[in-house]
Amino acid sequence: MAYVATRGGERAIEQSERLFRAEMGEITADRVAEMRKALPYLVDRVMGEASLYDEDLAALALAQTGGELYEAVLLLRAWRTTQPRLTVAEPVTQENLFTHRRISAAFKDIPGGQVLGPTLDYAHRILATEVLSGENFLPTPVEPASRPSPAQQPSVAAWQAENDLLTAPEPDTASGNTIPDITREPLLFPAKRAHTLQSLARAETGGVLALGYAAQRGYGQNHPTVNELRLAEADIRVRHPRGTEFSAGRVKVSQAEVVSKSGSDLGLGYAATLGWNEVKVIAAATLDLNAKGAPKGSATEEEFFLYHTEGVESSGFCIHFKLPHYVTFQSSLDAMHDARAKKAAQAKRAPKTDISPQVESAE
């Protein structure tokens, strides 16, 4: 019964999961609510990468995984798989976004003004260590401006297009069911515009940053200027089967327009995502800007960056190397033993030749 004795595997698996969960202890609705309140930017990041907007579920995913981000995103995406699609919302237009923050690096001032909104950009990053010794950190109250900035503004690119500085992309007339959906159809190349933007919207922030940064440092053809960065809320309007349109609520969104200055026209790169995540949309817009005409196999080629910034896939594949691979290993070892034996036999007869390393495919 030797084999049977090895079947302790299932118990070990169960206990390893218990060990992980023991560290987080009891998960309560209060804890989830507190996480949602205390970590809005983390919740945003998870919602963006999961392409599912629900702050409570995202906070729950974070609570359940102890903040293991890749796991939290996977958890939310897997839940998304089980949900039916009821309808497709009406398109959200830039000029209808309820804007909290909108800045441009391309101009000193822009129509509608530079609206700083909430940011740590100019803060000194000093750790409030006094909190740990019992002295609470109370944020200084915000003093409202004498005149509120306009809530709705067109994009800077729209103004540039009007002034013949760039060619605005053709308006996409797809609506409802005809909008290609990357979660329901495969990604093929050259990618549909909608698939590219959707893939970037749900890409992993760190991955987008790494490749976007490479492009910014000089591995791309175009250096970006931030034409506009915007944090906003979008009203989600849905049409009832009877025909009436109603608001299903607001979601936080971020978008970035970046432009290149080479050539006679400004080139435009764009990215948007659910939630507020500035680094991601600037890096993603940089990749979009550089994609056109990028050499095959370069970091700014669409196929390259869309595949390699997919966080659920890349993290999953990375950790899959923990799985046993002894069959494939054995198979290669067998070929290696045999090649060595051949080499040894050959060495007796002729001068030595090297066994060159072989390209291995992923297993």
């Binding site: 839940w79 699609r85 069911n177 329901r184 159809e185 093929l188």
Partner: protein
């Protein structure tokens, strides 16, 4: 989220329909049993919002439209549901896909009478040697036209439905009229 391991009636039906279609295509020429007679079960097992469908029967078209699939002409359809083909020429309108994306070749479902009519010898993947079948109810020259149109791996799949029986002929099959 706890397990709920009982399939709904819809799930059980569509699951069984697909299983019949899968084996029908895996073993060309061998008939399989559908859980219910007719083509409607195939519609609900396969079609969705992503599909472009052409249905000859208006009642079936209503069922197909309810899945969210778009009702289109024969040329644009990825799934075609026909009662009887008007003539072999109708096959010319069926999408064959491309070399790059052979899978965009269409799936054609039509009614036929199995076990009577023209004797056919089917060979190719899925056939353990040649498989002989009899099929009636298809227009004259149907199989010759099919052979003329196929440019493997481009081509279309064929499901012949007779009541609750289905027979599959993938594009990889060679069909000889004997």
């Amino acid at each position: 989220m706890t397990a709920h391991p009982a399939p709904s009636e819809f799930e059980a039906r569509t699951n069984a329909t697909f299983e019949a279609l899968m084996w029908a295509l895996s073993r060309p020429g061998l008939t399989r049993d559908l859980p219910a007679p007719g083509q409607a079960g195939i519609v609900e097992a396969l079609l969705d919002r992503e599909c472009n469908v052409h249905c000859a029967d208006p009642d079936l078209a209503r069922i197909a439209a309810a899945t969210g699939a778009a009702l289109v002409t024969q040329e644009q359809a990825d799934h075609l549901f026909l009662d009887m083909l008007p003539g072999a020429d109708a096959l010319r309108q069926i999408a064959l896909g491309s070399d790059l994306y052979p899978e965009t070749g269409a799936t054609l479902v039509c009614n036929a009478r199995l076990g009577q009519g023209a004797a056919l010898r089917i060979s190719g993947p899925g056939c353990n040697g040649a498989v002989d079948v009899k099929v009636a109810g298809l227009p004259d020259g149907f199989w010759q036209m099919r052979a003329r149109l196929m440019r493997y791996p481009m081509g279309f799949e064929l499901f012949l439905v007779a009541g609750a029986q289905v027979l599959g002929v993938p594009r990889s099959s060679q069909v000889e009229v004997i």
